[in-house]
């Protein structure tokens, strides 16, 4: 059999000399704000995407100017925890080195900068480095930022789980010195032949890889949407281990039924001491078994579907040298955040703000960026970014509580009356910067949610939380396929409507209407909200309700029943 041609990215990785490529030369070229296509792929492993302002493409072409290129850098912040001092540095950098004048919290508990001119990239990475932050492997075909429930209430359990998540994040880092050489002026290796990538090998993983750690009953990290998940199991307030999940992922392609979102399978319980063994086993199995020919079928979810659950499980156990134990009973309930003040068992207070679409910026009456900055100047605890793109000011002593609250109100971080549905909602960035977006998301979502809220009010169900998520494309950054109401962009002003996911994130939704506009979406929801108001069972979530009344079939095995 002749050698099968691999996906183009595989050759780029192989040629990149452990992620070096020609990034340095590309950054130094003053004639363009862009870098080469190959380097764009390599740069992702450095946490950075090249983008351009799509609103201005045609206009600039007429102006004989190239597209307005800029870079998006996503930091790697395991578990989403930053010290106040780090936050000040993060804030400084956004003001000095980006043109977006904002910081964007992401659905993976980190922040990203938009609008970084090429000439500022190096200074920006160096600025992060001085604050002991980095963007290594924040994107690319490697394990990315490890998510971890930031719930500070059960602080002892959280502290232990957080340390495990952090350790996992660091253990899974690529070993290449490329990042240090390119951005931090570390002396170059004479030859990269001696450099070894112990976990990844020379061509890294076939596709991106996402990990999350949940602490029940919260499922804010949406653990089943990850390639690899750990659900903390406690006994008498002590962490004993985790239920391991694998094979989740959101991304799919419109119109290609061999691609589909999928929730992870449960594989069983593992002891907390075996976390690294199992993680390596899952990652290396994916490294060796994953599809390197068709990039659209390269995520772990397809590997498990294609090789079979049992084969995959046996291989993981073989590589880990440990067997799975039967999964323990855990109850996951809410994927939202706990807003307002919450007191932890250590008597410290924690304040969670709703940040609409995760966008931290200053606007008249809502000086979010300045507010967080001013708080960071006086706050001694930390800042925690949540999986719902919100922010927690964690570890406030009783004595400081009033002062922090007064500042939060002064800058408009607190004070809005929000419906519980809006508090559970998330949207991705999309236009104008995301090259994948087919429709608006962040710029349109707040206004769309106001209309959804009005419909809920009309039917008297405002107090019932419904998980609504929107993305500009089917790659799924805001995990739309795990939303009770999911909207996925198809074309400007047009979305596919998905319904029927469970409230707690244990069942996917399914498409009910294709390529429709706002009026049709709202008409559809108006009818369903009316029925939900009058026909629902006690404690029945909207997602469960639409499945029960037959509006949409439950998705049980996504490979077979997500489409059709």
């Amino acid at each position: 059999m002749s050698e099968q041609k691999l996906a183009a990215n595989e050759y780029i990785k192989a040629r990149s000399r452990h992620l070096r490529g020609t990034i340095e030369e590309g950054i130094a070229d003053p004639v363009t704000g862009a870098i080469s296509e190959d380097d764009v792929q390599v740069l992702k492993f450095h946490g950075t995407y090249m983008q351009d302002d799509r609103d201005l493409r045609n206009e600039r072409k007429e102006q004989k100017l190239e597209p307005l290129y800029s870079f998006m850098l996503r930091a790697r912040v395991a578990g989403g925890v930053c010290s106040a001092e780090q936050w000040l540095a993060v804030d400084d950098i956004s003001r000095q080195l980006t043109t977006s004048n904002s910081i964007r919290l992401t659905t993976r508990q980190t922040f990203q900068y938009h609008g970084i001119p090429k000439r500022n990239l190096k200074a920006l990475v160096q600025g992060l480095d001085r604050a002991t932050l980095d963007a290594i492997a924040a994107c690319g075909d490697v394990n990315r930022n490890v998510m971890c429930n930031p719930n500070p209430v059960q602080s002892e359990l959280h502290a232990e789980v957080y340390e495990i998540a952090k350790h996992l994040s660091e253990h899974m880092l690529p070993h290449t010195q490329a990042y240090a050489e390119i951005w931090l002026d570390k002396e170059k290796l004479l030859s990269t032949e001696e450099e070894v990538e112990p976990i990844y090998g020379d061509t890294y993983l076939p596709r991106k890889f996402k990990m999350a750690v949940a602490i029940p009953p919260d499922n804010d990290v949406d653990v089943y949407t990850n390639d690899f998940g750990l659900i903390a199991v406690e006994e008498n307030g002590q962490l004993v281990g985790f239920n391991l999940t694998a094979g989740g992922g959101m991304g799919s392609t419109h119109g290609e039924v061999e691609t589909f979102p999928r929730l992870a399978d449960d594989f069983g319980f593992i002891n907390k001491a075996d976390v690294i063994k199992f993680a390596e086993a899952v990652v290396t199995t994916q490294r060796d078994w994953g599809n390197r020919v068709n990039r659209k079928r390269a995520r772990l979810k397809y590997t498990i579907v294609d090789h079979g659950y049992d084969n995959f499980k046996a291989e993981v156990e073989k590589r880990a040298g440990v067997k799975f134990q039967p999964k323990r009973d855990v109850v996951l309930y809410d994927r939202g955040d706990r807003f307002g003040w919450v007191k932890g068992i250590d008597d410290q207070w924690h304040l969670t703000f709703f940040i609409e679409c995760g966008r931290i910026k200053d606007e008249p009456g809502k000086m979010l960026q300045t507010g967080l900055r001013e708080i960071a100047k006086v706050h001694k605890g930390d800042f925690r970014m949540t999986a719902n793109q919100n922010m927690i000011i964690a570890g406030v002593p009783e004595s400081e509580k009033d002062r922090i609250e007064a500042m939060a109100r002064e800058y408009g971080l607190l004070g809005d009356v929000l419906t519980t549905t809006r508090e559970h909602s998330i949207a991705c960035v999309a236009l104008p910067t995301c090259p994948l977006a087919m429709a608006e998301s962040e710029r349109y979502f707040p206004e769309f949610m106001t209309k959804v809220e009005a419909l809920q009010a009309k039917h008297g169900i405002s107090e019932l939380p419904i998980v609504v998520r929107m993305t500009g494309c089917p790659n799924g950054c805001a995990r739309p396929f795990a939303a009770e109401i999911g909207l996925v962009g198809k074309a400007p002003g047009r979305y596919n409507l998905y319904l029927g996911a469970s409230f707690e994130g244990t069942r996917l939704n399914k498409m009910v209407r294709e390529n429709i506009q706002e009026a049709e979406i709202l008409a559809e929801l108006d009818g369903l909200f009316g029925r939900y108001a009058s026909e629902r069972n006690a404690d029945e979530s909207f997602g469960d309700f639409v499945v029960r009344i037959g509006v949409v079939k439950a998705v049980i095995d996504a490979a077979k029943d997500f489409h059709g």
Binding site: P30, V31, T32, G33, L56, E59, R60, K61, E62, Q63, K64, L65, E66, L68, P117, R119
Partner: protein
């Protein structure tokens, strides 16, 4: 045009000659025609040589030193009129004139402008120096006339003209008539001077007049086309496209003009003269401030037109001149303005930074006669733009790079007359244009000679023309562009074109200076110094150096940077480096188009 279309009215031939020619040509095959035409051309070429030999001492030599084309224009007009009057004429730029011929001249007419603080224009520098040097010959028996152009708001008004006058007299030449110094509104004075020169020259050159009259009187055209500053071509604006991005503080436009079947030709390096109309809104607001009716009939020159028409099409509203400020001071009796006109420096500064609308706003005139006003205003003069295209690429189009002048003063935006007209022109708008050749800004004759082009801001325009020209030549030499502007993302004029030229190899190297993209300001002169070793290396390899753009600061800073590069890498002191550059200029290898 074919011979059959030839008429005696449009040719130097008589009706009988035309008829005979038509009959003969009708009998010839194309090959025979071509063969005959060669003989005719050779015969025609032989004649003037013979005549010239006889006439060496009996012609009027007109020398001009011109920076912006005004002196050349006056000199050309004089040449045409002298020819029409039957005089033998030799019209030549001082830059091209061989100074050894001076002592053989009979009659010399000099038209020269003065730059900045009393400096000679580029093409006059050498001759100007030569006349004051020990090598200058005795000029006994030579008669001369000088017309100097200048700006009376400058301290050294018409300095270069005065010096030519002094130096010629000192060498023994005798004035034909007293020197005439002209201010910005030179048209009338120069016309009078032209007639006086011709009247005085005629008796002196009388012997040659019969010979000259016999030779066909082909006018000294600035181009081969029939269109000129006096007779501009009405062209069509096809595109006025903003080049700077929406976030730029600058508004720079790319303007494409269709020359249709005018037959107008130009060379990379030439400028386009553009007549414009004043802003309708501006004219209306002035009329209302003056409480004058736009329909009032006024006399402009010999014509009677409406006041509004005069203000729109014929009078300068966006550039002041000292005479007008003085007039305004007297009319308004405003103390502040009266004090300003007492002081030349203040007047110059005022003229530079104000327009008629500012005068009206600051020192309102209300009861003024329409005709008095019109007489006080200067005639509208065309503006010159360096051409940004080459005909090898754009055929009958001509492209310009126009920086919109828009200054906010006292809460009002004051636009530059021509730049506003071109920037906001609708597709299809008519514009009167002519080509102003610039022989002193030309690509090297040898296409393989490397060139270094320094053109920040709109100074990049002629280099786009250069690149278009060189792109059409397969064997073109190396090209290096220095460009600068405030911001990379906003102000990189023609970015995508330079990227293409780099990719195709037409452009070998580009050095960019975006002054506001970092804390310290970086300009092209900094890049020149940073790349000094290579600049020196290119110059050693025979590269030609070109500089285009702002004369006030950029050109001086670049000149200094070049001197430093030459001093450092050529291992000489500043004076020697400065001389070295001057030699480069004299050899035609360092050419400037600064404004």
């Amino acid at each position: 045009m074919s011979l059959n279309d030839l008429s005696s009215l449009a040719s130097p031939l008589s009706a009988q000659q035309v008829e005979a020619l038509k009959q003969l040509s009708a009998q010839l095959t194309p090959v025979q025609l071509a063969w005959v035409s060669g003989y005719l051309a050779a015969t025609a070429n032989a004649t003037p040589t013979a005549v010239a030999a006889v006439e060496t001492n009996s012609k009027l030599t007109i020398l001009y030193g011109s920076q912006t084309g005004n002196s050349r224009g006056v000199a050309t007009e004089l040449a045409n009129q002298a020819k029409a009057a039957g005089l033998a004429v030799n019209l030549v730029s001082m830059g091209d004139y061989n100074s050894r011929n001076l002592k053989q001249e009979t009659l010399l007419a000099v038209v020269v402008s003065t730059q900045g603080e009393g400096e000679a224009p580029d093409d006059a520098i050498e001759l100007h120096k030569f006349l004051a040097s020990k090598r200058a010959p005795k000029l006994d028996g030579v008669r001369y006339a000088v017309l100097s152009l200048g700006d009376s708001s400058y301290e050294f008004f018409c300095q270069t003209g005065k010096e030519f006058d002094e130096r010629l007299a000192k060498l023994g030449a005798e004035p034909l008539l007293p020197r005439v110094d002209c201010d910005l509104d030179y048209q009338q004075a120069s016309e009078t001077w032209q007639s006086e020169v011709i009247a005085a020259a005629k008796p002196l050159l009388v012997q040659s007049s019969s010979a000259s009259a016999a030779s066909p009187s082909v006018p000294f055209a600035e181009t081969t086309s029939q269109y000129s500053k006096q007779q501009p071509y009405t062209a069509e604006i096809m595109v006025s496209q903003k080049l700077t991005s929406r976030d730029s503080v600058k508004d720079t436009r790319h303007v494409e003009i269709d020359l249709g079947d005018s037959g107008i030709t130009y060379q990379p390096g030439d400028a386009l003269g553009v007549y414009f109309s004043n802003d309708d809104v501006l004219v209306d607001s002035l009329l209302s401030a003056w409480q004058l009716d736009g329909a009032t009939s006024v006399t402009v020159g010999k014509d009677s037109v409406s006041l509004k028409q005069a203000l729109l099409e014929q009078k300068e509203l966006t550039q002041l001149y000292p005479g007008l400020v003085k007039f305004w001071a007297e009319q308004s009796q405003a103390k502040e303005l009266l004090a300003i006109v007492e002081d030349k420096t203040q007047t110059r500064e005022f003229v530079r930074s104000h327009q008629v609308a500012d005068l009206q706003q600051l020192y309102p005139l209300s009861k003024i006669e329409a005709q008095t006003l019109v007489d006080a205003l200067r005639p509208l003069t065309p503006r010159l733009y360096s051409i940004a295209s080459a005909q090898s690429e754009v055929d009958s189009e001509v492209h310009l790079t126009v920086g919109l002048v828009a200054d906010e003063r006292n809460g009002e935006v004051r636009y530059g007359g021509a730049s506003r007209f071109l920037s906001y022109a609708e597709e299809g708008a008519a514009v009167k244009v002519y080509v102003e050749p610039n022989k002193h800004f030309r690509l090297p004759e040898n296409p393989q000679t490397p060139v270094i082009m320094i053109g920040p801001g709109t100074g990049v325009a002629p280099f786009r023309a250069f690149m278009q020209q060189r792109a059409s030549q397969d064997d073109a030499g190396q090209n290096w562009l220095f460009f600068g502007n405030p911001h990379f993302e906003q102000d990189f004029l023609y970015q995508t074109e330079w990227q293409q030229y780099l990719k195709s190899g037409v452009l070998s190297k580009i050095s960019l200076a975006f002054s506001r993209d970092q804390q310290e300001k970086i300009y092209v002169q900094h890049r020149i110094k940073q790349q000094g070793a290579e600049v020196w290396q290119w110059l050693q390899q025979g590269a030609h150096l070109y500089l285009c753009g702002d004369a006030d600061r950029m050109a001086k800073d670049v000149q200094q940077a070049l001197i430093e590069v030459v001093a450092e890498y050529g291992e000489m002191d500043q004076t020697a480096a400065s001389d070295w550059l001057e030699q480069l200029r004299a050899a035609g290898r360092f050419q400037k188009d600064v404004y």
